[in-house]
């Protein structure tokens, strides 16, 4: 760590995203960032795993297809990965978009293959979020959890275990704790 890159670790975009130079983002044109999102080092985002289009719809041929959509104030810790899930449907294999809403924290080393991660979700370190998982708002997933594929996790759940199950509820007073604005401000080149 003695020799720091002159420009600092993070590239800051116009919309306030802080993206580590050492992140591994593949298929950038298929990724939407809502702004004010932190992507730390060694994070992999697989924007290249697109939906298989058997016949190109005549409508949106100009707009880029979306593989990963991310809202505002999300924090992706070191070494986590976002990967659009894939499955067979009606005889064809296709990947489906991975959508992440606002104020989502993903701990280091966690691998996310969900279909949807709602707002104010906190995922601990070294979790595996199975394919096509739907996580609603205000959910905490404790570290080391393996969330099984296709599960729906309702709002205000605490999830842990292998396979992950709802082990508790988020208390009324914990709601504010999911806000990531302060944490977003604390990350950057000058710290």
């Amino acid at each position: 760590m003695s020799r720091k890159p002159a420009k600092g670790e993070y590239i800051e975009t116009d919309t306030g995203n802080k993206v580590s130079r050492r992140s591994q983002i593949i298929g950038t044109t298929n990724i939407i960032l809502g702004g004010k999102t932190v992507i730390q080092a060694e994070v992999i985002i697989r924007g290249d795993l697109l939906r298989t289009s058997s016949s190109v719809p005549d409508g949106g041929k100009q707009s880029n297809p979306v593989a990963v959509a991310i809202g505002r104030y999300c924090i992706f810790s070191r070494g986590c990965e976002l990967r659009p899930p894939g499955k067979m449907y009606k005889g064809t294999f296709s990947h489906y978009p991975l959508k992440i809403a606002d104020h989502v924290f993903i701990g280091p080393g966690s691998i996310i293959e969900a279909a949807l991660v709602g707002s104010h979700v906190s995922i601990g370190a070294n979790c595996v979020i199975g394919k096509f998982t739907i996580i609603k708002d205000y959910v905490r997933i404790l570290g080391g959890t393996v969330v099984p594929p296709n599960i729906v996790i309702p709002s205000f759940s605490v999830v842990a275990g292998r396979p992950g199950r709802v082990v508790g509820e988020i208390a009324e007073g914990e709601v504010e704790g999911f806000d990531l604005r302060e944490l977003y401000r604390s990350v950057g080149n000058n710290t």
Partner: protein
């Protein structure tokens, strides 16, 4: 273990008011001393009862009418909505009452690993699968994507991919048809009609006319048995007591209704009056005699079957304790397992147990996460955060060195829009076998008022002076690195940091006698779980002036009110500050 995060727990005052109702024999010393001088003693965070009264601030509510903290133990929960956690469909109360608290659509959990099951189509197989009409029946199965269990394993196939619950209720493991309660009822009605024609009760096995499916000696599944038993005894009750002593007619004697249940409970707890009545009625009762009435005679051959099955399927074929616990009926073998319908979840509102005012009320719609009312303690009492005064180098162990003074910063953040006066009191030594010496350098101070969110935003826009001031002040202190007694360490708009100094004890079990505490001499047991954590009980008193409450019918507050419509408020409670773990020598 190496990573210790400091924590603060708050004691809900309801713990004081609830005294143990039963007197344990006086020879158990803890019970005797625990109740008598509760008020005088310092609160011991390690006392067995403390576990039930300590909560993180986020878990506490605040009653604006009682002006008191409310914990999960002193609130009443009321169900607002039942919903399925998988399909997120709201289940109306009427359905919950009639169908029970499980999802009645297509939501199931794997009986092996509790992961969700999904419906998938069975690929048509050319060779057929042993099922009579493969082309027509059973094109769908439930699959677990986690452990690969499939309803094929228990021989259950479905005709259509929706309403699995209704379909499953009709299929036995192995594919046989379940006789539904409705069929049973129909059959029963037929038989009672028949019985009323001939006065003698029909004997086993003489049923001929419309009994192609119901056999008095059939082996019932638990649900069928329950429904038979229930209807049999219901009819018995109806016959025995045309108008029951309990005040309702025997005809609609529903054991399922909560009213009836509470009355039945009343029989047991009540006096001898009810007992007598029940006894006198008993004479008229007849017990169930065959399968149609719910009687199942244990078949000794089934034991032999089970042993044979065990020999064939070995360990792999048996179920684990967890798997059995989830099943509705006994399931010793993997082949007996049934998919588990999701248990419904609830949205609940919370009321203060004392004054019945609502403290928290979520929106009733399943998909919304807003609250109509949310009185959380976080918005009323100052949050306390703890961090070491001297930041540790990452390489350094975060354990506390015995007999070496260490200083921590306690930061009080005021959520109220008024200035508050805070006083903290701690015992000089923490309770327990290993006593840490505790000194709060500034036990009394005032914390500034909170401001509106937009005001905060304004400050931030101009890169607030508040933030700057704070830094310089802290830096000024860093030179000497020594906190002054009676002085606040750092201060911000609505927060204050004070220093607490702790001298942790040695936690050696083999220490010489003269350094041991009294408690340690009396109890030479090995080190208990978390006994090496420095936990400080702290009594916090918060005082502030607030606008007088609108509904001032509470007389005791009136005396405190001043002329300008302001009134003094105070709140006092015990906290536990978990500072760190002591290193072993």
């Amino acid at each position: 273990m190496a990573n210790f995060t400091p924590y603060t727990y708050f004691q809900c005052p309801c713990a004081d008011s609830v005294l143990p109702t039963r007197n344990i024999s006086s020879d158990s010393p803890s019970a005797a001393s625990g109740t008598s001088d509760q008020d005088e003693r310092t609160f011991d965070p390690r006392a067995p009862r403390s576990n039930y009264s300590l909560y993180p601030l986020e878990h506490l509510l605040y009653c604006e009418d009682c002006h008191q903290i409310r914990c999960p133990r002193c609130v009443l929960d009321e169900i607002v909505t039942h919903y399925c956690p998988n399909c997120l469909f709201e289940v109306p109360n009427s359905i919950v009452k009639s169908e029970g608290t499980r999802c009645t659509r297509s939501c199931f959990q794997c009986p092996i690993c509790i992961a969700p099951l999904s419906v998938s189509a069975v690929e048509p197989q050319p060779e057929g699968h042993g099922v009579a009409d493969t082309a027509h029946v059973g094109q769908y199965v439930l699959n677990c994507a986690y452990c690969l269990w499939s309803s094929k394993d228990i021989g259950v196939y479905f005709d259509k991919p929706n309403a699995i619950s209704a379909q499953l209720a009709r299929i036995k493991n192995g594919g046989g048809q379940v006789i539904t309660p409705r069929d049973r009822r129909k059959d029963r009605e037929g038989r009672t009609r028949e019985a009323s024609m001939g006065p003698s009760l029909d004997d086993d096995g003489v049923q001929e006319d419309d009994g192609p499916k119901l056999d008095p000696n059939e082996v019932l599944d638990p649900e069928g048995q329950f429904s038979n038993l229930k209807s049999f005894y219901q009819s018995q009750i109806a016959e025995a007591s045309p108008t029951s002593a309990l005040g309702f007619t025997g005809g609609d004697y529903g054991y399922g209704s909560p009213g009836a249940l509470s009355r039945i409970m009343g029989i047991y707890t009540g006096g001898t009056f009810a007992d007598k009545k029940v006894k006198s009625k008993k004479a008229n009762f007849r017990e169930a005699r065959d399968a149609l009435e719910g009687l199942q005679i244990v078949d000794l051959a089934s034991d032999a079957d089970a042993i044979k099955k065990l020999q064939e399927n070995r360990w792999q074929g048996t179920t684990s304790l967890e798997q059995r616990a989830e099943q509705l009926s006994e399931a010793p073998f993997v082949s007996d397992l049934r998919p588990l319908a999701y248990v419904l979840r609830t949205k609940r509102s919370k009321r203060c147990k004392t004054c019945r005012h609502i403290l928290s009320k979520p929106e009733s719609k399943v998909q919304t996460t807003r609250f109509r009312i949310r009185l959380v303690a976080l918005n009323y009492i100052p949050a306390i955060t703890i961090r070491p005064l001297q930041p540790l180098a990452p390489t350094q162990r975060s354990l506390l060195t015995p007999r070496k003074a260490v200083q921590f910063l306690l930061t009080f953040k005021n959520p109220l829009f008024e200035n508050v006066k805070v006083s903290i009191a701690t015992p000089a030594h923490t309770p327990g076998r290993f006593k840490s010496k505790v000194t709060v350098l500034c036990p009394q101070f005032e914390v500034g008022a909170n401001t509106d969110a937009w005001e905060e935003a304004l400050r931030e826009g101009g890169k607030g002076a508040g933030g700057e001031k704070r830094r310089t002040k802290a830096e000024a202190h860093e030179g000497q690195n020594q906190a002054e007694a009676g002085q606040v360490w750092e201060q911000g708009r609505n927060w204050v940091s004070v220093v607490v100094e702790v001298i942790p004890p040695s936690i050696r079990m083999d220490a010489p006698d003269f350094v041991k505490t009294e408690e340690h001499k009396n109890d030479e047991g090995p080190l208990r779980e978390d006994e090496d954590v420095v936990e400080i009980p702290a009594f916090v008193r918060v005082e502030w002036e607030a606008d007088a409450a609108q509904d001032d019918d509470t007389g005791n507050l009136a005396s405190m009110r001043e002329k300008d419509g302001r009134e003094k408020r105070e709140l006092a409670y015990w906290c536990v500050l978990g500072l760190g773990r002591i290193a072993r020598e």
